[in-house]
């Protein structure tokens, strides 16, 4: 049993999804919900031994499984995790439970299909984080788009088809170039699709450069990096709450993960040579997006833009080539998983009551929903990077790491202290404070037990990680140090 933990982590949610799907029409909606919750919880439970049994003193892959899949091309069903992927699998399994609960009452239409889509997506994303074979990775990487595409396209808002298609084509564009690169690597490495083998494959500068841009496009779209970020606000606005939560909390992380698993270790020379590209794009993103977020009238768009700015910290941290920066980026990924999930849930709570995401339709919420206002305040502060919340830790680490490399990087990136607080708290002020102007706000009721559970769990995590982030960085430290040592070595022939 323990030898196949990663298989379980991938397939338990997918099979659970299939079972939920089998309940069929909405007459069995109650059954579908409970089955989905059971499946998601089971998925989380099988993921927990990955953390408890994890050995954080080694950078070697753990819980490895390897069996031939397509022998003709030397393709394997090869799984394994290190300190970089383990936290992400747990984050994903955890968020899946949350989105199932979040969709409990809100989704009344095609319930089984909705729940199943999330479960299947969860398994596929775990596959992305666990795959050590290039083709296996690619299959999971592409397959996870399908449920998300359906979630936006079926349960989304009025402009959902445009958003879903934009999202799908944007992400597909990059991944074809990635596939070409992978096939090239297959030949260069002497006929292997093993990612770890690729880490040692000798590559010329031209090849590295070309592949750098191919991978950068594939993963950069997902992150998303400037200027290929415009699908994200549209996708968020149209997606149902659960879709936004997964999109922000998990799928963005897949792109960032690709940087660490592919670009840095496979293309170390190009990474060093072209680091300035990523650094510049990240710095511009933080400032540009910070200003753009300020003028958004739609709360979801605002948080979507804020996601882009926050992910700018991640990509910047990775390309500073020091442990503080890289781990800061990873911490930021996990933190953003909690904080953005919480913020989208908060917007969902409001949307369910007033059916609007426009800031101007609100105002004075604190008078009607004090408990909600308190939660929302906490997450808004976490989004502004306030110390003692998780949002601070990653930002702090990346700012500190930038100061070590170049003072001006630190100066630009630290402007987020001002812009991040401006757009988040200005929105908060207009939505929550002030006198009630919209009579419908008068009728809004405070959060119910289910919503308190969701937001409460996230609040504990956000605060816990802010007060004591050491356990998280302890898990990833050895793997990150090893990765950076690897990146420091040239692979030129």
């Amino acid at each position: 049993m323990l030898n196949n933990l990663l298989t379980l982590v991938i397939w338990v949610p997918i099979l659970a999804g299939a079972v939920v799907l089998a309940t069929g029409s909405d007459r069995n909606a109650v059954l579908a919900r409970w089955l989905a919750l059971a499946g998601a919880l089971l998925g989380l439970i099988v993921a927990i031994p990955l953390a408890t049994g994890f050995d954080s003193t080694t950078s070697a892959m753990q819980f490895v499984e390897k069996t031939p899949w397509i022998p003709a091309f030397n393709i394997h069903y090869h799984l394994g995790i290190d300190g970089i992927s383990m936290p992400l699998i747990l984050l994903n399994s955890f968020i899946t439970v949350l989105v199932i609960i979040a969709g409990w009452q809100v989704i009344q239409d095609r319930v089984a299909q909705y729940m199943a889509a999330f479960l299947i997506m969860s398994g596929l994303i775990n596959g992305v984080f666990a795959a050590l074979d290039g083709i296996l990775f690619y299959v999971f990487f592409e397959a996870m788009l399908i449920p998300l595409y359906l979630i936006i396209g079926v349960w989304g808002g009025p402009n959902r088809v445009y958003a879903a298609l934009k999202f799908f084509l944007y992400t597909l564009l990059g991944s074809f170039l990635m596939l070409v690169s992978m096939i090239y690597l297959y030949f260069q490495s002497g006929g292997s699709f093993d990612i770890l083998t690729w880490h040692g494959t000798v590559l010329g500068m031209t090849a590295q450069t070309l592949m750098f841009f191919a991978f950068l496009l594939a993963f950069g779209v997902k992150v998303p990096m400037l200027p290929v970020h415009t699908w994200l606000p549209d996708a968020h606005v149209e997606a149902p709450t659960g879709g936004s939560v997964v999109l922000a909390a998990i799928t963005l992380k897949v792109g960032a993960y690709g940087f660490l698993r592919f670009i840095l270790p496979i293309l170390p020379d190009a990474s060093h040579e072209l680091a300035w590209v990523v650094i510049m794009l990240s710095l511009i993103a933080v400032v540009y997006i910070g200003l753009v977020a300020l003028v958004q009238a739609d709360m979801k768009k605002l948080i979507a833009y804020s996601s882009v700015a926050h992910m700018g910290f991640v990509t910047l941290g990775f390309f500073l080539f020091n442990p503080l920066g890289a781990e800061g980026g990873l911490v930021q990924m996990v933190s953003h998983g909690f904080v953005s999930a919480a913020l989208f849930l908060c917007i969902g709570v409001m949307y369910d009551r007033l059916h609007s995401r426009q800031i101007k339709d609100y105002g004075g919420l604190a008078s009607r929903m004090p408990v909600f206002a308190a939660f929302f305040m906490l997450f808004a502060m976490a989004n502004s990077g306030l110390p003692a919340t998780s949002g601070f830790v990653g930002e702090f680490m990346v700012i500190m790491a930038s100061s070590q490399v170049n003072f001006w990087y630190a100066l630009v990136i630290a402007t987020t202290l001002i812009t991040g607080a401006s757009y988040t708290l200005w929105m908060y002020k207009r939505v929550v404070f002030g006198a009630i102007t919209n009579p419908h706000v008068e009728e809004m009721t405070d959060v119910n037990a289910r919503e308190i559970l969701l937001l409460g769990v996230l609040a504990v995590l956000v605060l816990g990680m802010g007060v004591y982030p050491k356990p998280l960085t302890d898990v990833m430290h050895v793997s990150v140090v090893d990765l950076l040592a690897h990146v420091a070595q040239s692979k030129l022939p």
């Binding site: 100061s403 630190a410 960085t473």
Partner: protein, 665 residues
Amino acid sequence: MPVDMRMLYLIVPLAPLFGAIVAGLCGRLIGRTGAHVVTIAGMVVSFIASVLVFQDVLAGHTFNGTVYTWLALGDLRIEIGFLIDALTAMMMLVVTFVSLMVHIYTIGYMHDDPGYQRFFSYISLFTFSMLMLVMSNNFLQLFFGWEAVGLVSYLLIGFWYTRETAVYASLKAFLVNRVGDFGFILGIGLVLAHFGTLDYATVFAKAPTLANETITLWPDSPWSLMTVIGILLFIGAMGKSAQFPLHVWLPDSMEGPTPISALIHAATMVTAGIFMVARMSPLYELSDTVLSLIMVIGAITALFMGLLGMVQNDIKRVIAYSTLSQLGYMTVALGASAYSVAVFHLMTHAFFKALLFLAAGSVIIAMHHNQDIRYMGGLRKYMPITWITTLIGSLALIGAPFLSGFYSKESIIEAARMSHLAGAGFAYFAVLAGVFVTAFYSFRLYFLVFHGKERFHQGHAHGNEADQHHHHSGVPQETPWVVTAPLLALALPSLAIGYMTIEPMLFGDFFGHAIYVADRHPVMHELNQEFHGAMEMGLHALTTLPFWLTAAGVGLSAFFYLKRPDIPAALAQRFNFLYRMLYNKYWFDELYNWAFIKGARVLGSALWRRGDQNIIDGFFVNGSARLVERFSRLLKAFQSGYIYHYAFAMLIGVFALVTWFARLN
């Protein structure tokens, strides 16, 4: 070091935190009484523990140790820990004492407020944050406390969240502070980059070896590392301690309930910047450039913010400008390397300014939340305790000999006179002129409120819109004991603390190694030469310029506001531009609104519409979609389904091929 002392250190911040959590999360359960009992109990415990810690420090015990490791990456360990020395112990006493008084006072002041429990939770949380800030032994925790006090300040300024002005003021305060924090975190980043640690002791020990280190910010212009770090950290102090040009948030913060104006925006939080620079004295001593800058900024704040206090009509705003000005005084002392003087003034100011604010709150209660001093007057008959305590506070503030403010302010003026740094001449002039200004606006307020004609029955058209239900009749009444007892308790140190402590704090070895002054900056030494005891200092002052400036200020305001109120009105008419400039606070708000708030929104809109919508989406994304569409429409045209179209195309094709082959042959 006995283990029980360490427990005591933990108890000091955790007791208020416990109170805050209980009152905050279980507010409905424990009710109003429960909320103030639990938070005040926490404060009492914290205060007693602070007293014990203080005694222990006086006995010569200091402590520097870790509570837990926050983050560890290989050799880099970032920890949460305490540094307990004389500077910390003194701050702990001031914070817990003033906070305790404010807690008690709040029972009376917030009596009818629906947010009673929430308020107690916030002020206890504030006390926790402030204590973490002053007790820190490293830069990370300092930043924690730094931002946390900012957060609670934000929550408390916007406490009455349905009031648009309060909410606006809270956001303004938070964002202006964030501008300061922006510099602050960059300073911390440079410290980590060049010292490899965030631990105070290690950084301070290593600082002299990096005194001549330079960094290249742009090609061919090396900057002294210590200067850059010093400036960046000081930007943080400018935000928190409201120094020019980041002072704009403090007057607006008066939108918050009065108890927090006393606690946060007078006695404790705003002095965090002063405390920080004093704590960092081993770094600041290494750069004369930064010290000069600090002195000039402080001098500008001390004089020009004081001038604004002369024309304000809101009782709290007058005191707020006075706070700004006094913070400027402390900053001047820092720049003159007289750190202990700055901290000394910080302490005396904490007592008398908290007193003045709480007394103002008492007046505000009696005036049914009208805060306009033009509609007060003659209150001394009705509110004897508030009157006497305000008088004590005001005398302490203007530096009347033998009162606490006298000793600290006189020392600052002398320190500025003796400093040899660039800018010291201006600083000396500013703090000297400031003495007159302080005396004038303080007694303008005092006379308008407590003396002269009773004007509180004249309409409230211009009053603060604080209270919607102020239909009152009859005469003002003295406030209940929960309000007046803290006034009396704060009046005692306002009277005597300066006289009692000047000798050990400035010229004794009270601070020991907590504050470092380089031999190049002998200001404290020279002050010591002149000092012959507190009594002597008070007597001597009667013959000096500052005393006569003070007397002139008081005399002029008495003449203006008791005898000839027509003169100030005429002057305002005559010098209309000057008056409007002061009344509008030099138009800083307008400037910042235009340059930053409006600017950012215009820029954001432009980037969004041009960048995201027009270029990226419009041209690239949708443009490529249109391109595909057009191309496929073209292709579609070829597949019309008519046989003769296909036949025609074939014919052309055959013709072309034949021609081509023919040419080849």
